[in-house]
């Protein structure tokens, strides 16, 4: 039988990823969520009309928030169902005995979902660009950087959700991941508490340890806040590509640790 000599682990991971992507694209729930984001962007035009010459600003803010929120919902939905769906439908019983390692299966699932998220975020970003064009505004590079940060955040949320789903139920995985996301988005406040009023107290130590260990999702949503003392906004004075690169390194490193732990847990799990 003809086999490609170059076909290796990457090919097997891609086979699983392709199937995962195919499954996601045939899931109507995702389309409903994307339609919700598109509706939100359409609604932002009406809100923009109500504002005083700030219509583009409103569209950008609501559009970006829509991509972030809907993307988060999709990442949670995909990530926490990663293994439970395979076990519930018993499809895992036919895949695992195929010539691939368990970690390749898990990695393939992650890659497939990350590709799905990327396609959906791109679709929503293109829609936002279209909405902006109707108002005579352009989808500038600052918005592109902000959307890139959102995508990085979603890839990390997916990895965290996958870690939890490797040992707990979808419901608990969703709860844990959502809780970590809320805490991570407020990591600045957490650090401020730990080093401010609660400094040198046991609770302060706990909070600063938590801030150091838990994923810092605040890194990925900086518009409207400050970096150091500098205000950051997609409407002027936004971060550069260097910052996006650093955020990508952070997401990659943290996500890789999550995937490695998930792999270790999954490797010894009885699939009954």
């Amino acid at each position: 039988m003809a086999t490609s000599a170059t076909f290796g682990a990457a090919g097997r991971v891609w086979a699983i990823a392709l199937n995962t992507f195919r499954e996601a694209t045939r899931n109507r729930v995702l389309y409903v969520l994307v339609l919700f984001a598109v509706g939100l962007m359409g609604f932002s035009i009406i809100l923009g009309e109500l504002s005083l010459h700030e219509d583009v600003r409103v569209i950008k803010d609501i559009g970006l928030a829509g991509i972030s929120i809907v993307g988060l919902a999709i990442a949670l939905f995909l990530g926490v169902n990663l293994l439970s769906k395979e076990l519930d439908r018993k499809t895992v019983f036919f895949v695992i005995p195929k010539p691939l390692h368990r970690h390749e299966f898990l990695l393939g699932k992650y890659v497939g979902m990350a590709v799905t998220l990327t396609v959906l975020v791109v679709m929503m970003a293109v829609t936002l660009a279209g909405v902006l064009a109707t108002q005579g505004a352009s989808h500038d590079v600052a918005l592109l950087r902000a959307e890139s940060l959102v995508l990085l955040e979603l890839w990390l949320v997916l990895a965290v959700a996958m870690l939890f789903s490797s040992f707990s139920s979808p419901y608990l995985s969703a709860m844990f991941t959502a809780a970590l996301w809320v805490v991570g988005r407020n990591s600045t406040e957490l650090r401020a508490f730990a080093t401010g009023k609660l400094a040198d107290t046991p609770l302060g130590t706990v909070l600063s340890s938590a801030a150091a260990v838990l994923p810092d999702f605040h890194v990925f949503f900086v518009s409207g806040g400050t970096l150091g003392e500098t205000p950051v906004s997609i409407h002027g004075g936004f971060i550069g590509w260097g910052y996006v690169g650093e955020a990508a390194l952070y997401a990659g490193a943290y996500g890789a640790v999550c995937l490695v732990i998930a792999t270790v847990l999954f490797a010894r799990r009885d699939l009954t």
Partner: protein, 314 residues
């Protein structure tokens, strides 16, 4: 050469908050030789599926060891030479049969041309040519079983492991699966299959293992497991009541069927005497059938001897 070796395999499931233990396998050992059809028999709950899940790397044994194609369980190179059909197969139901086989071909490292050719040939072989482009969710149970067989054979495996392959199939479907299994043996493949349908095992297997309550009760060729002695001889004949009256002392009461009267005799000599009297009295012999111990008799005997305790999953 041994393609499958199981040595003192044990599996205990621990379930629930109270950590209740269920002993599904209690130290079973057997082996399968290259090129044979091996039947893994047992009633529901005997531990057949648990054993197969261990062999397929889905669950881990509590103790003992198993080797597939000369390698430890989970070895990727060995899995490359293995085909597996799970019990009541569940596949990605949004895929068509062609897409399913394409995915399996990718996992086996086949290039696009090889995947297309092999998938097309297998879909025809299992009789799914008319439904190749239909999503699996629209398949009947029998069609899913065929798709399952096709995906198990996609990598041209040396060893094919089938968990209850005839389950849910109608008589025609069962015959087709039997024919596929026999063709696999003709091509030099080894087939290991579990079943509780004894007629299938009788028709197909070179050797069998009988598992009851997580323990292996018997292993070997069917001929050596079954008692060759004749238990009884059935004589079916037609003729006058006078002949029946003449046989009354020797036969006792005949049972009647639409085809005639049945005399059940303890051995061939007694059956010969009945045949002679029927012929002398002007009657006709329809058939004479000697009854030996069947696989079913053996199976029931072993299950009863073990008190038919229930093991794990199946």
């Amino acid at each position: 050469m041994r393609v499958l070796e199981v040595d003192a395999l044990r599996k205990t499931f621990v379930r629930g908050l109270l950590r209740r233990k269920t002993e599904a396998l209690r130290g079973i050992s057997f082996h399968v030789e290259r090129g044979e059809i091996f039947g893994f028999l047992g009633p529901n709950g005997a531990g057949k599926t648990t054993t197969i899940k261990i062999l397929m790397g889905l669950i881990f044994p509590t103790a003992g060891r198993a080797r597939l194609l000369g390698a430890d369980i989970g070895d990727r190179e060995a899995k490359q030479r293995l085909g597996y059909l799970p019990e009541n197969p569940y596949f990605y139901d949004y895929l068509t049969a062609t897409e399913l086989l394409d995915m399996v071909g990718r996992l086996h490292g086949m290039d696009a041309g090889a995947r297309r050719r092999r998938a097309g040939a297998l879909i025809e072989e299992v009789g799914l040519g008319h439904a190749a482009k239909r999503p699996l969710r629209a398949f009947s149970k029998g069609m899913l079983q065929r798709a399952g067989l096709a995906q198990a054979l996609m990598g041209d495996p040396e060893l094919v492991v089938l968990d209850e392959p005839m389950s849910g199939l109608d008589p025609i479907g069962r015959k087709e699966v039997r024919d596929i299994i026999l063709r696999l043996r003709e091509r030099g493949k080894t087939v290991f299959f579990s079943t509780h349908i004894l007629s299938d095992a009788t028709l197909l297997c070179d050797r069998v293992a009988i598992l009851v309550g997580g323990e292996l009760r018997d292993t070997g060729p069917l001929g050596s497991l079954l008692d060759p002695r004749i238990d009884a001889v059935e004589v079916l004949w037609t003729g006058d009541d006078a002949v029946a009256d003449a046989l009354a002392v020797e036969v006792g009461d005949h049972s009647r069927t639409s085809e005639g009267r049945i005399a059940k005799m303890p051995d061939l000599q007694a059956a010969n005497r009945v045949v002679a009297r029927v012929v002398e009295g002007g009657g006709c012999i329809v058939h004479v059938i000697p009854h030996r111990e069947s696989l079913e008799d053996l199976f029931v005997h072993e299950a009863r001897a073990a008190g038919s305790p229930r093991g794990g999953e199946g």
